[in-house]
Symmetry: D2
Subunit: 354 residues, 4 copies
């Protein structure tokens, strides 16, 4: 139960946080009265309008119940079954969705590429884009999928995105963005959502709301609107058009109103920065990779990891390599949460140990 067994010191993922109060209120407000179903309700229309304002152009929107569905449906619309999806080897679509992209695409192939900070290396992308394209014995490179912010918390700058986008377009491929931490990237880069997406050639965006304050609602933002009919059929067929769509739409409507989505991201980013700054001060702790959003990777001495676990902090460790720890903040992380962790780590680090 959420109220009886609180998890107060959770740094394992942003998906352990709850929802913003504004969103909870909007959902409650939507509970009364009749509304049209299956995405034809007024709230869904308003979400589309709001996203159009945010992205400075007309967009279409498909509201879904998970980022995995947003990614799978988007990729299925951008590649034929005999195509390949070029992505980073550490990407969520490649590792953490139980093959959902392969399911939704009817068997397209994910081609894992390398690159620092979970960003696709441009040289590797350039080679992969051309790889046996048109050879009937090979899958056809069809879509590039980038993650913003990346799985390690780094952000793709407009320039970095531009490089990947140019390679994509020159090869005649489509561009998908998994915006799992899109709000965090917008906030960190202080860039316009338009510059980070369609102006850089993104065809479809998995908007990534769930981790940043909504409950169960995520969205696909459609920039190439010629894709909307196909995407709509796929979404229905994938069981992702909820009957009482207003309840998903209400979450996104409140999330987008008055900049809540960016305020939440700013908070999460600020807490990650505070964490980084604090960890950098502690002897024996090594920060790993660049971080601009809400994920911090670091190497901790064994006794520090053990102390933090003993104190009830929850986080992933020893999953990537021994000693490596991932700490994730969210819009619900407080200064006290961060400072408590830093204090415990400082204590443990000074005690020495193995």
């Amino acid at each position: 139960m959420t109220d009886s067994s609180p998890l107060p010191r959770v740094f394992s993922s942003d998906n352990t946080a709850g929802a913003s109060p504004e969103i909870a209120e909007a959902v409650a407000r939507a509970a009364t009265g009749a509304a049209l179903p299956y995405g034809t309700d007024d709230l869904t229309a308003r979400v589309r309008t709001r996203l159009g304002e945010i992205f400075e152009r007309e967009v279409d929107v498909l509201i879904v119940s998970s980022g995995t569905a947003a990614n799978g449906l988007s990729l299925a619309t951008l590649t034929p079954p005999w195509g390949s999806v070029l992505c980073h080897r550490d990407s969520h679509i490649n590792n953490d969705e139980c093959g959902a992209p392969e399911f939704f695409t009817a068997g397209a192939k994910l081609v894992p590429l390398g690159g620092a900070d979970a960003k696709i290396d441009p040289a590797q992308l350039r080679a992969a884009v051309r790889h046996r394209s048109g050879d009937v014995h090979s899958v056809v490179p069809s879509v590039v999928s980038v993650t913003q912010a990346t799985e390690t918390g780094a952000v793709l700058t407009p320039d970095e995105l531009g490089v990947l986008s140019d390679i994509t377009r020159e090869g005649g491929l489509r561009l998908h963005m998994d915006g799992a931490r899109f709000a965090g990237a917008v906030s960190a880069l202080d860039a316009s959502p338009a510059d980070l997406t369609w102006r850089a050639g993104v065809d479809l965006l998995s908007f990534g709301a769930t981790k940043n304050g909504t409950m169960t609602a995520d969205a696909i933002v459609v920039f190439d609107r010629s894709l909307t009919p196909e995407l709509s059929f796929r979404t229905k067929r994938g069981g992702q058009i909820t009957a009482k769509s207003r309840f998903h739409a209400a979450q996104l409507d409140a999330y987008l109103a008055d900049g809540l989505w960016l305020r939440n991201a700013e908070r999460a980013n600020a807490m990650a920065a505070r964490l980084q700054d604090g960890l950098a001060e502690i002897p024996g702790i090594e920060l790993l990779g660049e971080t601009a959003a809400n994920i911090v990777f670091c190497r901790l001495p064994q006794q520090v990891t053990e102390k933090l676990l003993a104190d009830g902090f929850v986080f992933y460790h020893d999953r990537w390599e021994p000693g490596v720890v991932r700490l994730v903040t969210s819009f619900a992380t407080t200064r006290d949460d961060v400072d408590d962790l830093l204090r415990a780590a400082t204590d443990a680090a000074s005690t020495g140990g193995a």
Copy 2:
């Protein structure tokens, strides 16, 4: 917007109703604090416990965001791709899910059967169950899917269900129930949920909560628990394991607490009965088929249909055959809604016309 443009006289579907206040409150309550993600939270566990009590045995539960997903995932777990799903020709899975069963099953074939009141005719089922089973040139009859209550609002009695179940089992097939209006059937039959499902051989049940008071949460109830691992992988891969699962679980938890799910169904059924009784009194109106749950099919004179539409009543008409109208009530339908409609119909009927 739901508040600015009310749809006060909606009889088109139960999915235009909102959510029960208890459910809205439970969702708001779940918004604060941390909770484990992806179905590992305490509320999800409590939903499983509650369903175990309701069904008088241990069950597994997969929470999903639509009945279409519940049906598709269930069927995929019960039939191989080269199998067939025997169902009524008027069933939702056959007509209204854009081929979701075919998608989730990787291409199984739905075999449409006839029968009055959208119930599968036992003689047709008996023939279909045996049809070329084992012949490598034919799909293999693998699963029977029944709907409770049916698409026309009729209910399968325990005896009727038993007949279909016996044929299913004798043929070595699995049994799926699309419980789109399951609460309504339980309420109408005054039967135990156990008798209407696993005691009658049902392997997997699409629980059908959305139409009856929840917002975006539906569930697959697993009676043959050996299916749970496969079903879990399919659910994840289908993008249906929501990160912040507590928000779906909270809806079902409140829905099942204190008998809310049955109270809601009783209300919807009672309003349909009131509607039927009233319509039966009106000269020129013909009730079609038996109805025990919340759907009423009738034949209306043209001028009655036109008058109701002119008065702002919303419902499907002329979709099945000319003159045939479907009226659906929900837990949110009021006596006034019904009486207003009856009054308008009475007026129009007495006016005469074509």
Copy 3:
């Protein structure tokens, strides 16, 4: 072994016949020397040229190893997964391919329609073509598949085909022809292959060579050549591009040379006509439906069926309804085969019985 246990009186299907001697010689001739693989060989090119001559226009050709593959790959290229294939309820694709169309299309839906002599009824087609097209909750009518000659041995005349084709085009659907007995239809109708296909709007034709004299080679003839790249990828991915493609091509090359394909079909048709004429003379035997190609349906008295079986004749009976028998001739059927059967039937019929 084919030589030790001959099946001399086989009327069960045309697929029990062997291959034309010219084809066997061509295959043997192709066995020596090197040739390019995977459809890039000279014989494959020549087959394409020959089909271009036969169809009086440039065509593309994909050579495959079964009619089932030809049908499945063609349909997959003509419908999206959320589309429907409108076909006759007795069609091979609907009944006898173990769901291959569903497999190759990634889950499209076959919509079975009625009509005499296994020809789609135009009125039913007209309704089906429009059925909820564009409604996101329904599969989208996408392709019509007709069989030539039909599963009962009837042929679609150019006029009949024109009617179905017009309905197809007006609805914006694509047209596929399962030419399982295409040569038989051309021969029976004395019509041009072009008139029976692309001039009547056929996009893709399953050519249907195997039943009429080749060994293992069948072909998809592509009239809408914009489909060729997609079809090629699907064919490779479906395991249907054979490495030593010359051996399939050699079969079709000889089959098409000097009119062998039509001579074979004429023989099969002539033998079916002889059979029909003879059966019509026998008291108590009822011919069922029109037949122009090599399939004869009839109703036999029980003692006639038993006598024929006892005499070693092989054929399907009691599969459609009690008393109904299907007799199929092939290019290898001889006058003696037919006359022997007629004699045995005459004897048994005159004996009387139940």
Copy 4:
């Protein structure tokens, strides 16, 4: 045309060779008389018997028209759609089948592993077998696929195979062998077919006949016979059960009779050995990797490659890395073919150049 434009100096692949005369004769012999269709003929039964003798145990056999189909159908039977196939990154299934494994498996994931000579590295396999098995967010390691002989012409010794097999079994996975050059491996290792397959834990074998002397017939050999029903349905549904199955069976029957399959492989291997020995003598040429079967990888000076191409030799070059050449022999390669190539290479090498 094969006879008018001979390709006498082809070292590009073994699939440019024709068929053994014994096989051509067997096919011609099968052309007359009636035979049962769809794999129920006597020749198919005899192929099964012969394979049972060769493998020293009862086996089931599915005859198909390509190695790609054999691999795809086998893998689909060994992994669920949410499973992964562990294979070498250079394997044919991973690179050269246009995603056929993904198609037949309905979207399983191929996990590419490294290792010298296109053999899977045991340490990498050990890690991959355990990787997140059972975690619902990840695909489940389900089957290991090894190639025999490998894509570079190396052979897996019984010991090497045993190591991979032990890891596979300990992890609870299934074992598939792509026997593209299986006869070559048997011949090179002088090992029993049984020891190289089921005694080492192989569940399903793609037999690999096409490259070694048959025309269009390949086979799946089933050691775990509980898989046969599923495999049969998949094979039919995949369009791979040819109507006139005797013509595929006749090829395999002759191929297996009197040891033809091994004689053909011995010839191909001997010619590759002769090629290697000759190349090793030529200054400036570097042999790459071990070779026991019919594939030779080497690094040639630029002027040697150019001279060979100018002289009409056909082979792949500069596809892997600059200067790297692949030469493949077959059962049809002659001593003169090899000696001509060696002579030309010697001449070019002595001329000097860049």
